[in-house]
């Protein structure tokens, strides 16, 4: 009796377990990128929904909790149907109304412009709905150990907050941004469930105002300094020349380049500062996010985010260049074949050229526009990998307490978000 009273029973064994959040770098993302790219071209773009889905399956699987992967259970068909619904219910009516307005009231007439303005406002109001619903779809399609995520509640309060505070950004000279971001983030986090267990957002935007002030005044100082240096450069040549005299062209060019360089440097500084602020935001939001007896800890840095962004851009450009080079080679080959096959008398070389160009142009534009997305999956994996590598779940979670969610899974997915191009992954 005594032993049991003073023994292990006194120290309650922790009810939960520590969950170790890790990123297991996915292998074969380049191969997947190429395969998706080819399928997208051959299906005239429609395969995109399935391509996106396979990328998500790979990315979700790379996120591990205690070594076990998250699972993405969405399908390409759901994304496709979601897109079709939004196309029919939102995009098509918008297009028809704006075309009809122009045809009936005339281009640049007051009525047509008012109708256009009303459409733009409606679209902005829908952006919030789109973000919220896309999050819900993704969470419902995210499983760990078979338990679904969910985002409860209606998207209306979120959409209204998103819309109304958007107009306050210019009115407050940007000072509402940290409050707005925190408010929107908390509205989502507080409605997130993993199975039966809720997430909670505890914290406010207070801690973000310091970094934001640094960013805000930093941009101001940067602009003033860059302008002052440019002014000094111009002043120094004009001073040497005396008033009213034009400097020679080569000197003008040199100083033009100097000023361009100054502003490019300033822009780089700006990118760094905004990445730094972004990192502080991510880490702050992580700290405010609680789940059972655990909370997240973020260690993202500005340099880290900036490096990922810049290298991702380089990767996308490299991918596009590869596609364009391949495309040019194929076009040259086709042209040579046509040249050899068509008898010289039937068409003049100039006509063949014009003809071939007219035939090939739409194809080239289609593939050229897609070329930037060739290595998109690789860059998405790098971005997500960075985030997961710099997030930890600290504290314990009683996994046996988490029961399956009873929420109705949505049948179709996130078309609205895709239509407005606010997808990250």
């Amino acid at each position: 009796m005594q032993t049991s009273a003073t023994g292990p029973a006194v120290h309650h064994p922790p009810r939960g377990e520590r969950l170790d959040l890790t990123w297991l770098k996915p292998i074969g993302m380049i191969g997947l990128s190429v395969s998706n790219f080819i399928y997208r071209i051959l299906t005239l773009g429609i395969y995109d929904f399935w391509a996106r889905t396979e990328v998500r399956k790979r990315l979700w699987s790379a996120i591990r909790l205690n070594g076990e992967p998250l699972a993405y259970t969405g399908t390409g068909k759901e994304l496709f149907l979601g897109f079709l619904i939004v196309f029919g219910v939102v995009l098509l009516p918008i297009l028809i109304v704006s075309v009809a307005a122009i045809l009936i009231f005339g281009p640049n007439s007051l009525t047509a412009n008012l109708i256009q303005a009303a459409i733009y406002i409606a679209v902005f109001m829908l952006v919030g709905v789109a973000i919220y619903r896309a999050q819900r779809y993704r969470l419902l399609r995210t499983n760990w150990r078979g338990i679904r995520g969910n985002l409860q509640g209606s998207s209306t309060p979120y959409a209204m907050t998103y819309f109304l505070t958007l107009f306050l950004i210019p009115l407050t000279l940007g000072w509402i941004v940290p409050w707005r971001a925190t408010k929107l983030q908390s509205m989502i986090t507080n409605n997130v469930r993993f199975g039966s267990m809720p997430f909670a957002f505890r914290g406010n935007s207070g801690l973000l105002y310091g970094p934001y002030a640094v960013l805000w005044f930093g941009i101001l100082v940067l602009f003033i300094v860059a302008s002052a240096i440019s002014g000094m450069v111009i002043g120094s040549i004009q001073g040497d020349l005396g008033p009213g005299l034009e400097p020679p062209d080569d000197v003008k060019q040199l100083y033009g380049l100097t000023i361009l360089g100054v502003f490019a440097l300033a822009y780089l500084f700006y990118l760094f500062m905004s990445a730094w602020y972004r990192a502080r935001t991510i880490n702050h939001f992580a700290q405010c996010t609680h789940f059972d007896s655990a909370s997240f800890n973020g260690t993202a840095t500005g340099i880290g985010l900036l490096w990922i962004d810049i290298t991702n851009l380089a990767i996308l450009i490299a991918g596009s260049l590869v596609v364009v080079a391949l495309l040019s080679a194929i076009a040259a080959l086709i042209f040579m074949i046509v040249h050899a096959l068509v008898p010289a008398t039937a068409m003049s070389p100039a006509e063949i050229q014009a003809y071939a160009a007219a035939m090939a142009a739409p194809v080239l534009v289609f593939i050229g526009a897609l070329s930037f997305t060739l290595l998109l999956p690789v860059t998405q994996a790098r971005s997500m990998g960075y985030l997961i590598d710099h997030l930890a779940l600290e504290g314990s979670v009683d996994v046996n307490k988490i029961a399956q969610s009873t929420a109705d899974p949505m049948a179709t997915g996130e078309g609205l978000a895709q239509a407005f191009d606010i997808d990250a992954f």
Partner: protein
């Protein structure tokens, strides 16, 4: 078949999908599926290979597999190590990445091939979907389109309104319209513009420039040009061109998210040039109209010939409209010969000397275009 793969055992984690708890199990690959032992005396579960799904499609790089079974939603089996994933790819080949991709893409590949084939067929057979749509447009819509186009073409330019000139123009138009046997009333507007050009616009409208009247040597030449533009109008070429351009613009707006490409219909038409076939059709109409109106086609041919020479006069032509007809087409000579061949009937001048003089000076009185647009 794959007997070497059966009866291998693998360490795995199993969850029943009711809670997020999980337990270690030793699973076994059997002929009937994956065998998952249960606690105590409960019978082991068998998950047949045909009803399995994996969290990500199986590839050669797979280092583990997260398996689910469609008849036991929520339950998951996580098997670390590449050995199981490879065996599963052999026993359930429908789960491999290549099989899943092909399954998703193949209907669309056929669809894309059919779309391309239809496109090539439409193109080879000379079908024009834009023309079909233009044909279906109600007259009201065509009139509205025409009003917009004329308005944007005359934007910033004066509409010529001299009484005697208008009377002469009405007479000429009436004579030609009567010869179309179509019952469509054409509305012809002269605008004060130095460019030598004429445009057919939707809804049976023709816009002539004062530059063209200046450049014409006699009413028969203007009659020929008018008849040619009416030919375009009768064939709905302007409507077709706009439908095509609007279709493209609408597609662009849809893809790019709206940039107001649709607001410049008139500009579009100014740039529009018709195909050889369309010009041929308009010529055929012009020849028939001139013949039935008893106006000599020689005037049309003369004007045609003069303007198609690449001397100074032709440079004053714009890109679209008549300019498009006379520029760049290698078969101008052929078309000219056809017009010349059509002669040989008794003809009277299109207008009297006095009426022609009045038409030439129609721009003596003009209204600013904005007012004209409103009063119409």
């Amino acid at each position: 078949m794959h007997s070497d793969l059966f009866h291998q055992r693998f360490e795995a984690r199993y969850t029943d999908g009711r809670t997020a708890g999980s337990r270690d199990v030793m699973v076994e690959l059997t002929e009937r599926g994956i065998l998952i032992p249960q606690d105590g005396s409960a019978a082991p579960l068998i998950w047949p290979f045909g009803a399995l799904a994996t969290a990500e499609p199986l590839t050669d790089h797979a280092i583990d597999a997260l398996v689910t079974y469609s008849y036991q939603p929520g339950a998951t089996l996580f098997v670390p190590g590449p050995r199981f994933a490879r065996a599963l790819a052999t026993l359930a080949p429908q789960l491999t990445a290549s099989a899943e991709r092909w399954r998703a893409a193949s209907p669309w590949l056929w669809g894309a091939a059919a779309t391309v084939a239809i496109g090539v067929f439409v193109w080879l057979a000379g079908l024009s979907p834009a023309h079909t749509i233009a044909n279906m447009l109600p007259d009201k819509a065509r009139t509205a389109m025409g009003r917009q186009v004329v308005k944007s073409m005359t934007d910033g330019r004066a509409v010529c309104r001299d009484d005697a000139g208008l009377k002469a123009l009405e007479k000429l138009t009436g004579r030609l319209v009567a010869a179309t046997h179509d019952g469509k009333a054409f509305n012809v507007v002269v605008i004060d513009w130095g460019l030598v050009n004429a445009f057919a616009t939707p809804g049976e409208n023709v816009v002539l420039t004062s530059g063209l009247l200046d450049a014409a040597n006699g009413p028969d030449e203007v009659a020929g040009v008018l008849a040619h533009e009416m030919g375009h109008g009768l064939e709905l070429h302007p409507e077709t061109g706009l439908v095509r351009a609007m279709g493209l613009a609408a597609a662009t707006e849809l893809l790019m998210g709206g940039s107001g490409t649709l607001s410049n219909l008139g500009i579009v038409l100014l740039q529009l040039s018709y195909s050889r076939d369309a010009e041929g059709e308009a010529d055929d109409h012009a020849i028939a109209i001139l013949r039935d109106a008893r106006i000599s086609s020689k005037g049309f041919a003369r004007f045609f010939e003069r303007m198609s020479k690449t001397d100074g006069s032709a440079k004053r032509l714009g890109k679209g409209g008549l300019g498009g007809m006379l520029s760049s087409h290698p078969d101008t000579d052929e078309r000219l010969a056809k017009v010349l061949r059509s002669g040989g009937y008794a003809a009277t001048p299109a207008l009297s000397e006095r009426e022609w003089a009045a038409l030439k000076s129609i721009c003596r009185t003009s209204l600013p275009s904005a007012k004209a647009g409103h009063s119409e």
